[in-house]
C-alpha cells in the first residue's frame, strides 16, 4: 500500500493542479472527496471490509469556510512536498504547530489539521506515512512466543523474542510496522488475543496465559492505533493465526472490535489495509453478564444513545450484534472485563477465557 516518493509527489501536485486549473478557467476552485460519515460506508465484497461509498463532499472557495479549507490544503501539500524533498518527517502535532506560521492558513485546533491530513489520504489514496506524518502515540504492547526482527534507528537489525527479551510490559509496537521496519521471524502460538484494558493485559501476563494457552497477547490501549491494527493484520495474514478480541461490555468497546474486524469510519479509505475481517468478538458480551452473573453498572444516557446508534450502524447489522445490543438495552446494564475478579484472580484465565475460546472454536475441550 505504501507508495514511492515520485508517485506521492505527483499525487500531491495533482491537488495543486486541480485548484490552479480551476482558477485559470475562471471557475470557483473546488476539491471533491468521499463523505466521511457513517451514512457513507458500505461493505466491499471483494475486500471483505467496510469502505466509503459513492457519496462525495465538495470543498469550495464559494464559502468562507471552504476557502480557508482550500488555503490550508495548499499549505499542507506544500509542506508535505518539502518534507519529502529534505527527507524529514514530523508528528501530526508538530505539523499543527508549524501551521502557526501559515498566516490565514493556520488551524484553530489540532483536530482540524489531523482531519485534513486524513482528507489528503482520502483524496490521493496515499497513506499519511507516505506524507512523512506520524501519529503522536505509538502502538501498544505484545507478549507471546513470537520473534520480531526490527530495524533500529541505527539501521541495525535486532531480533526480539516477545517473552524472553522483554519485561512484563511487553514489546512496544512502533508506529511503523511495515516490512521495511519489522518482520516476523518465528511464531509458536495458536491464536492472538487482543485485550482492551491494561489491567486485564497485566492479569493475563501475571497468570502466564500466553504460555499456558499458547496465545499472543496484544494490549489495544483502548481504541487501537493504526499500527496496532496493522500489526494484528500482518500477524494474522502471515501466520494464519485466528484473532479474538476481549473487551469491556459497553458500546464503546464494540466499536473497538469493529475497527479491528470491519474497519473504522474515520479510516474507511484504508480499511483493507488495517482491518482483520476474521477477528472474532470473545466478550464480555451482554449475555455473559447474565450467564456469569457479573457485577454491573447502569447504562448512562450516552451509553444508550451509542447503543441505539450502533443498531443503525451498517457494520452491526448481523444477528449476533442485533441480539446482544437489544439484550443490553433491555437490561440497562454494562460491565467491565475486570468484573470477572468477583470469582477470584484466576477465574478469568482458568474458567472464563477457556470456556469462551471453546465457544469460538479456538480451543478444544
Amino acid at each position: 500500500m505504501a507508495h514511492n516518493e515520485k508517485e506521492v509527489i505527483s499525487k500531491i501536485d495533482g491537488i495543486a493542479e486541480k485548484i490552479y486549473e480551476d482558477l485559470v478557467n475562471n471557475e470557483i476552485p473546488t476539491l471533491k472527496l468521499s463523505t466521511r460519515t457513517r451514512s457513507n460506508i458500505q461493505f466491499d465484497e471483494r475486500l471483505n471490509v467496510w469502505k466509503y461509498g459513492k457519496s462525495k463532499t465538495e470543498r469550495s472557495a464559494k464559502t468562507t469556510d471552504g476557502a480557508y479549507m482550500l488555503l490550508r490544503t495548499m499549505y499542507m501539500v506544500d509542506f508535505i512536498k518539502e518534507m519529502i524533498r529534505v527527507k524529514k518527517s514530523s508528528t501530526l502535532r508538530e505539523m499543527y504547530y508549524i501551521s502557526e506560521g501559515w498566516n490565514l492558513g493556520k488551524f484553530n485546533s489540532q483536530d482540524e489539521s489531523d482531519m485534513l491530513a486524513e482528507d489528503l489520504e482520502v483524496i490521493t489514496g496515499c497513506m499519511r506515512e507516505d506524507f512523512k506524518l506520524r501519529p503522536e502515540e505509538n502502538g501498544a504492547s505484545v507478549i507471546g512466543d513470537l520473534v520480531i526482527e526490527e530495524v533500529t534507528r541505527n539501521n541495525q537489525k535486532k531480533r526480539i523474542h516477545c517473552q524472553d527479551d522483554v519485561g512484563d510490559a511487553g514489546y512496544a509496537i512502533p508506529y511503523n510496522v511495515e516490512p521495511d521496519k519489522i518482520s516476523f521471524k518465528s511464531v509458536d502460538a495458536d491464536f492472538i488475543l487482543a485485550i482492551e484494558t491494561g489491567g486485564m493485559f497485566d492479569r493475563l501476563v501475571e497468570n502466564k496465559f500466553d504460555t499456558t494457552h499458547r496465545a499472543i497477547l496484544v494490549h489495544l490501549k483502548g481504541q487501537p492505533a493504526r499500527s496496532t491494527r496493522r500489526f494484528i493484520k500482518r500477524l494474522h495474514e502471515e501466520y494464519k493465526l485466528p484473532v479474538a478480541v476481549f473487551t469491556d461490555c459497553d458500546p464503546w468497546s464494540y466499536r473497538i472490535y469493529a475497527s479491528i474486524a470491519y474497519g473504522a469510519i474515520k479510516t474507511a479509505h484504508i480499511s483493507e489495509y488495517l482491518a482483520t475481517p476474521a477477528s472474532q468478538f470473545l466478550g464480555v458480551t451482554p449475555s455473559d453478564i447474565e450467564n456469569y452473573k457479573l457485577p454491573t453498572d447502569k447504562l448512562t444516557s450516552e451509553d444508550i444513545a451509542a447503543l441505539k446508534n450502533e443498531l443503525e450502524d451498517p457494520r452491526f447489522q448481523d444477528s449476533f450484534w442485533k441480539n446482544e445490543i437489544k439484550l443490553q438495552l433491555n437490561m440497562g446494564k454494562k460491565s467491565e472485563q475486570q468484573a470477572l475478579a468477583k470469582y477470584g484472580l484466576d477465574y478469568v484465565t482458568d474458567t472464563y477465557l477457556p470456556e469462551k475460546l471453546v465457544e469460538l472454536g479456538l480451543l478444544k475441550k
Binding site: 495543486a16 485548484i19 490552479y20 480551476d22 482558477l23 485559470v24 476557502a67 506544500d78
Partner: protein, 648 residues
Amino acid sequence: MTEPIAYELAKKQKEISVAEFFERNKHILGFGNSTRALLTSVKEAVDNALDACEEADILPDIYVEVSNHEDEECRIIVEDNGPGIVKQQIPHIFGRLLYGSRFHSIRQTRGQQGIGISAVVLYGQLTTGKHARIVSKIKPDMPAVVVELAIDTNKNRGEVIQTETVHWDKPSGTRVEINIKADYKRGKRFVYDYLQSTSIVNPHARIVYRDAEGAEHVFERTSDMLPRKSVEIKPHPYGVELGTLMKLAKETKARKLSSFLKTEFSSMGDRTTDAVCSEALLDKNLDPHTLTREQIVALHKAFKKVKIMAPPTDCLSPIGEMLIKRSLKQETQEISPEFIVTATRPPAVFSGNPFQVEVGLVYGGNLPKDKPVKILRFANRIPLLYQQGDCISTHAIEDIDWRRYGFEQPNGKGIPIGPAIILVHVASTMIPYTSESKEAIADVPEIENEIKLALRECARKVESHINKKVRRVKTREKFELITKVLPEIAKKSASMLGKPIPSLDRVITKIMDVVWIEDLVEYEKVKRDKKPVQSTLLTTATQDATQDDGGWITKSTIYVVNYKSKPQRFNLYAVIPKDAVVGSVTPKPVKITSNYLKWELPSIPPATKVDIMFELAGLNKGDFDENDLYVEDINPAYVIGADKWEGD
C-alpha cells in the same frame, strides 16, 4: 322663632381669594414641592417667551438665568427678544390669575389656561415676600419700562409697586425676574433637561442658560425657519360641550339656526347643517337666541349622529421630520448615534379636536444596550418631564411588541430595553392632560393609536436599517476574505507548480455573486449670496439650487459594482428629503420627484463599477447623511445595499 340656620351660614360664605385657592391647589399647578417649583417657574416663563416670539414672527433668542441664595431662595431671570408687552397690560398678564389671550382661541399654543406665569409671581410672593420685576420694550426707538409688581391676593389683581424707564440695547423683548423658594440642588437637573428638550422640539430657538454655578449652556438654533403659524379655528361640533353650545347660541350674531351653525362652528356646510337640523327635528330658520334648553340638548345630540367632516388641520404646527432629525442629531452629538429615524402621522381628530403625532428614534452609538430606552415626551412643543408612567406616549410604547424589531422586552410588554431614545410629540388644539400641572397626556384611544402607528413606522425603519447593515457587514467580510484568501491559494498553487499566478477577477465575481451598492455623502460649503432671511416653512422649494441660502451643498455618490457573472440591468431609486432642492445629477435620471430620483441604469458588465452622483441644496450639513436606495427589475436578493422598490 330663631333665625333660619341658612343666615348663620351665609355669614361665613365669602369669595375665596386666589391666594387661598393657590395655596390649596399648588400641587396640581406644579408647585407641589420646592424641587418641582423651580422647574415649573422656569418652564412657565420660557413657554411664554417662546409663544410671544412666535406670535411676532421673531426667531426666539431666550436667556435663562438661575441663581441660588440663602434659605432655599432662587432668583429666576428669563429674557426674550419677543415683541414686548404694553405697559398697561403688564399687571394683568403677570399679576392676575386666569387672564390671557389664548384661553378662548382654538389653536395649538403652549400655554392655554392663563394660570402659568402669574402663578409663578404669586408663588414667589407667597414664599419670599418679594416682588417680581418685569422689563419690557416694544419698539427699537423707545426706552424699556421696568415694573415692580405684586399681586393683591384678595382682588386677584396685579399691583404696580414702582415703575421706571431704562435704556435697553434690545430692539424689543421682555425680561422677567422672580424670586421663589426652591430647592436648587435637586431641581437643577430638571431645569437643564427641560431646556435641552425644549431646544430639541424648538429647533428655531436659541437658548442660553446660565446656571447658579456660573456655567453657560448654549442650545444652538438648528433651523432658521419659524414654525408654521397655527391658525385659529372655530370649535368642531363633535367636541363642543352642552354649556358652551348654550353660551354660543346666546351670544351669536346670527339670526337663524342654520347661519349660527355655519358661522360659529368649523366643518359645517349647507348639507351637514340641514342634516343636523332635521336630525334634531328643529327648523333651520329658528332664531338661535330663542332656543330652549331641550332644543339645544336635541341639537347637541344631533351633532353626534351626523357624519361631519373633520376640522381643518392648519391650526396645527408640527415640527417636521427633517427638523426633528436635525435637533436630535445636534443634541445627541456626544452619543454619536448610528442613525436617527423619524415619522410624522397625518393630522387626525379626537372628539372634534385636531391633533398630529410625530415620533423620532435615536439608535446606537454610546447608548447603553442593557437599559430601558429613554423616552422624551412632548405636547405642543413643551417637554413633559414628570409622570412618565401616566402618559399616553409611555403607554403606547409599552404596548408595542418591540422584540420583533430587535429590542429586548420581557413578555413583549413594557418599556423596551436597547440602545435607543424615543421622542414622541403630540400637537393639538386641545391637549388632554391628565391634570392641570400638564405633565402627562391622558389615554385617548385615537391619540394612542396614532402614536403606535408612528412608533411602528420608526421601528420598521430601525429593523430594516439593522438588517441591511448585518447583510452588508457579512458580505463585506466575505469580500475581504475572498480578496485575501483567494490570491494566497493562487500564489501557493502557482509556486508549487512553477507557473504564473492566474488573474482572479472573474473568480472573485463568481464567488461574490451579488450586485454591491455603496454610497458616500459629502458636504461642501458654498458662498452665500445674501444674508439669511426669516422665512416660514410654507416657502416652497422653488429656489434655484445655486442661490440657496442654506450654505451647504450635499454631495451624494453611489457606487454600483456588478459582482455577478452576467451583465445586470436595473432601475435605481434614491430617496431624497422633501425640503431638499436637487442640483446636478449624473448620469441623467429618468425621473425627479419631490421624494426621489430614478435612474434606468445601462447594462453593467460583470466585474464593472458604475458611479452615480447627485447634489442636494437647501439642507444643513448632516441632514442627509445616508442614502436610502431601492432597486427595480432585478431580484433584490442579488443586491447588497438597496431594497426592493415597492412603488411611490
